[in-house]
Symmetry: C2
Subunit: 197 residues, 2 copies
């Protein structure tokens, strides 16, 4: 009976959630089976249920842990006494870091949230909608004081968020530029597309 290996401060459930993120990212939530997950963890499928309630619970945990990180970050940035364009840049850099260093989680949260069930689904959609509105509000403030081009702010938000999800392809590519170069290139293009020249 090979137990799930755990270090201190990392529960068996955490191990399962992490492996689930990798698996859901690779195959998609629906296509990834609990038997696949069990194999990745090194255990029988039924044994997983000593640690988790359901497959969907895994998705909840992933989606909301990511969503909460972004919500906290925008709380923080909104409060800072810096220009709008600096706020946008900070937010973008945070998105880029998250996408680089917590790839699997963020990716799953981004692509697989559709498979959440209510009430989680509605909650998640709400949280996302509000986040985007707050992001758009920062951009709109920047437009008002002429830091940023006259553009439709919600459209700009869409572009920014989706552009960053392109880091997915960077992860999968064989000839990667460094993470730092990637970040600087993205900032150059995206912020460059916003600022008023």
């Amino acid at each position: 009976m090979a137990r799930i290996k755990t270090d201190k401060n990392i529960s068996r459930k955490d191990v399962i959630v992490t492996k689930a993120a990798a698996l859901f990212r690779e195959k998609g939530f629906k296509a990834a089976s609990m038997r696949d997950l069990a194999e990745a963890v090194g255990v029988e499928a039924a044994s997983l249920y000593n640690h988790i309630k359901s497959k969907t619970e895994l998705l909840h945990e992933l989606c909301f842990s990511v969503a909460n990180r972004f919500t906290h970050k925008i709380d923080e940035i909104e409060a800072e006494p810096i220009s709008s364009i600096q706020k946008v840049e900070k937010l973008l850099r945070f998105h880029i870091h998250e996408m680089i260093h917590h790839y699997e989680e963020v990716y799953v949260s981004d692509r697989e949230w559709k498979h959440l069930a209510d009430p989680y689904l509605s909650n998640f959609q709400n949280q996302r909608r509000i986040y985007r509105k707050r992001f758009a509000a920062i951009i709109e403030a920047g437009i008002r004081n002429k830091e940023i081009k006259k553009i439709d702010a919600p459209t700009a938000v869409l572009i920014m968020l989706h552009a960053i999800s392109g880091i997915e392809s960077w992860h999968r590519s064989t000839q990667k530029i460094s993470a730092e170069e990637l970040e600087e290139n993205m900032i150059t293009i995206l912020v460059g597309g916003l600022v008023n020249h």
Copy 2:
């Protein structure tokens, strides 16, 4: 026995493929069942097999019809005697049009190609890789003659392509700006992020 309704020049198979695109977009390929599709078409599940070979065939058709359209377009644009930045803009506008007017197909091709089976999977990945290289080559030419900022071209391609897939959110939003405004905003931001000021 209610037959699948067809107009002239549109086969029953076409009807099924179109409905499949909508369904795969809404639920994802794996989560959409043939019984769901049958219901959308107005027929029993087994009856679908008089017109198609398999569920996967539907995905092939969708993915490659989209991929081929993009390949043909880049063939066309490469041959035109215009500046690099104009080529980029033309390509972006084509992507935007496709994403606006053939939303379901394009979205499915973009998100669900992972569920293709070999040899289709490899073919598709190849076609995509080559397309992106050709796109990057256009950008690199623009960098060489100083039309475009010094940036990593493959990264720029990722940003452009993924940014455009953000139109997905525009489709789902209730308060839409017009398609024309959307297009102009996207071009402003994306081309603005590339050009050398």
